[in-house]
């Protein structure tokens, strides 16, 4: 029985690994002109021999070209939220287990939390903020309002983006099919009956 917890060992491992891999590069990220300059960190620039831990990446977000130097660790979700000011995509678990971060990458629904931003060179990303056409809501957004398919609203952007994926994939043949193909998005308020109806409504509109 591990009465003596393994924390110390595990920390020791952290430390060793840390020493061998880290270099003196700031965690700060500059993103074109989209955000205010990050705080000056006073960190020394990476020496030429050291591994490069941040990368310049260009992608299209909601139709706009974005070029950013990102910490390689930055997820698409954090790029959107922390650097592009697009906080509609939510961090519910940060582990691919809730779907609140769902966005479209090159037209397919994915979990933004498990997508490294550095891998998105040339990609087209659509978020909840990119759905409106002028003042007009996307039919699925309107369906969510009509069917009352949300309560607290936190999972809603992910549900809608996932619903758009579901519609595009054509998994709307029956309520059961929608239920299964919308099961990657948790709703703790319990709006599933109405989420399914909203996707059905949008499928009819389509």
């Amino acid at each position: 029985m591990p009465t003596d917890p393994p924390a110390a060992e595990s920390s020791a491992l952290s430390r060793r690994t840390f020493v061998t891999t880290t270099v003196a590069v700031g965690g700060a990220v500059a993103v074109g002109d989209l955000v205010a300059a990050p705080l000056a960190l006073g960190a020394a620039p990476a020496a030429a021999t050291e591994a490069v831990l941040s990368t310049r990446v260009s992608l299209v977000v909601n139709g706009k070209q974005v070029t950013a130097t990102v910490d390689n660790r930055t997820s698409l979700l954090d790029l959107l939220r922390e650097h592009l000011g697009l906080t509609g995509s939510k961090k519910g678990c940060n582990a691919g287990a809730c779907g609140a971060c769902t966005v479209l990458v090159d037209g397919r629904r994915v979990n933004g939390c498990l997508t490294l931003a550095v891998r998105l060179e040339g990609a087209k990303v659509t978020t909840i903020e990119g759905l409106e056409n002028g003042d007009r809501l996307h039919p699925l957004q309107q369906a969510f309002i009509d069917q009352d398919a949300f309560q607290c609203g936190f999972c809603t952007p992910g549900q809608i983006m996932s619903g758009i994926g579901c519609l595009q994939e054509g998994h709307t043949g029956s309520a059961d099919e929608i239920r299964e193909w919308m099961s990657g998005n948790l709703c703790r308020c319990g709006c599933y009956v109405k989420i399914t109806r909203a996707v059905e409504q949008a499928a009819r509109w389509k």
């Binding site: 920390s11 952290s14 960190a43 906080t87 940060n94 936190f154 999972c155 952007p157």
Partner: protein, 729 residues
Amino acid sequence: MSPQPQKAVGSPLSRVEGRLKVTGRADYAVDHDIPGAVHAVVVDSSIALGRITGMDTSAAESYPGVLKVITHLNAPRLVYRDYPGTNPRGRRLRAFQDDQVLFFGQPVAVVVATTIEAAQHAASLVEVSYESRQSTTDLTGRPGNVIGNYARGDAEAAFAAADVRLERRFDLARNHHNPLEPHATTARWDGEKLTLWDKTQGVNLTRNEVCAVFDIPPENVRVISPFVGGGFGSGLRTWPHVIIAALAAREVGLPVKLALSRRQMYFTVGHRPRYDYRLRLGADRGGRVTAMLHEPSYETSNHESFWEATLALGQMLYNVPNVSQVLRNVPLDINTPLWMRGPGYSSTAFCIEVAMDELAHELGVDPVELRLRNEPTRDPSTGQAFSTRRLTECFRTGAREFGWSRRNPKPRSTRDGDWLIGTGVATGCYDTWLGQAQAHARLDANGTAAVQSATSDAGPGTYTSMTQLAADALGLAVREVEFRLGDTTMPVAPPQGSSQTMASVGSAVQDTCDKLRQQAIRLAVGDQRSPLHGVNPDDVVVIGGRLQVKDKPARGETYRQLFARNNLTHLEANGSYTPQADSPYSMYGYSAVFAEVGVDARLGLVRVRRILSVFDVGRVISPKLADSQALGGMIGGIGMALLEHTVTDHRDGRIVNANLADYLVPVNADIRDLRAIYLDGDDRRADPIGVKGLAELVKVGVAPAIANAVFHATGRRVHELPITAEALL
């Protein structure tokens, strides 16, 4: 005064904030754009009991981007004043004030850095060493402290003399609220003034705690919380991370955003406690329950004595002459629990309602009929009349709509391929809680109104329902009224808990808007230039923004005309609601819950095929939203019955399944046919707007209805939650 026509109230409005929510523009606790904000990440203890013997923060501190690492070694001493509030009795966890570890996952340090990536990584570099002691986290077999007693009649004697006796022991798993939005706080100091954007079910809860911890006056703290990504109770207390965010912001001199990870959501923001519930039930052959003896024990922490309303149902739900109750809580090396949807009632209802089903089976009496035979005419615990109690009607309506009469009472009598089909029923009930609330309303010369109260909207639709009440009271269209909430600068409201918001804040909004309307009416009838001059104010109503004589609608004028002529920019009013101190009535909401399940008995799978609940909740202000809330409660009940179980490794007090892949909540595919019926009602004995509260009630009774349906399907009676494959194979 003449009652206003009710146009908005009772109509199926869509959520007024819907557009913000479907476009991603509703800002939750860490969505607000706060220039210059940096990020804080909490480091958790990896032992459940002991003390911190060493803290090496050097690697973390030297990591690029890190601004500060705060631990008990360098944190400033905080006052942590006690105050009359809702914190449980005991000594609350004090962030970084000593070296003691009280439970697994307790915050032991916080790292503040300029980016999320740096803060998270540096948090993993903090090395903590501990002197660990053997923790105790298992409720089983521990005596606990008696924290409540009740007796009427002679329950032991009546039980001994009963024709039919049942003795059961229930084990109900610990559950976590798990709102989809992790708890989070953004903190900013401007000199002595602190602003917090917090995930909370009550902005004043946060302010009270922060003032007490930092010893600062309330006027120096503003808490803002316009959108709350679910709570289900976890936001009814100000947990340590809020203090840590404020502390970190002060220490680094910058605004700080602190969001708990999903894993941390299992450590420090409460849970529905595990129950060990012994229940004995005696009845006569005619199905009248003669004795109920309750011995519930639930978890609490070693540092605080948690209390929830576990006893009420056992005293008032059925007309039982002899009742005894002994309530215990069992101190363990865990975080303190916190009220979760239908607190106390959900757990107790499971035990009573499963036992009632067993009794019905034993006696060969229909389970619905058994409940009707034990229906009281007055509250048996107080002798009070019920404000309203229409449980019988709930059952009759439900039985009809559900098709209950077609049921073959014999277990294992219905099959659909590999699935055994069963149906079950249970009663739901929850106290009508009422709290003091205040509101403010302002009517502008352009004929629009703004109403506000420092309440919360964690999902029930408070924005919408209050708008509906205000619109009718002011005689305006819904789009002409804006309701604002979630800010301590607004008039005080109770936290959004115990289903009290609609009744309490709603009554305050009603009072405020009534006052404001009457103010305008008085102005008109006293104004010689008004067509309403000289009319008895009690004969004036406002419809579509026009003040008019009730019986002669042609005579009148609009708010705009009245205001313009009098050179008024606006009128405003403050109003409030104070519950009656000693109401002569027993006030509860009721439901009859019918469930149908399919059980693949060979594989141990349970799937809920349909649920129908019929509710007696008084008046329904916002039917479209009330329907959603009821369905949500059913889904919560499905989780409680079949899936949810926070698992602790009692060897070291570790929570094993602290993530959403291993702690299972229902997904869309689990949910099929759910239906809610609200009896048309209006309970003005309960409160001025006639409502009895929804949010808790809609979950109570769901889990036992499912368990009873599982028995009907399989003949297998399960006394443990959740009901999983191993119990059915």
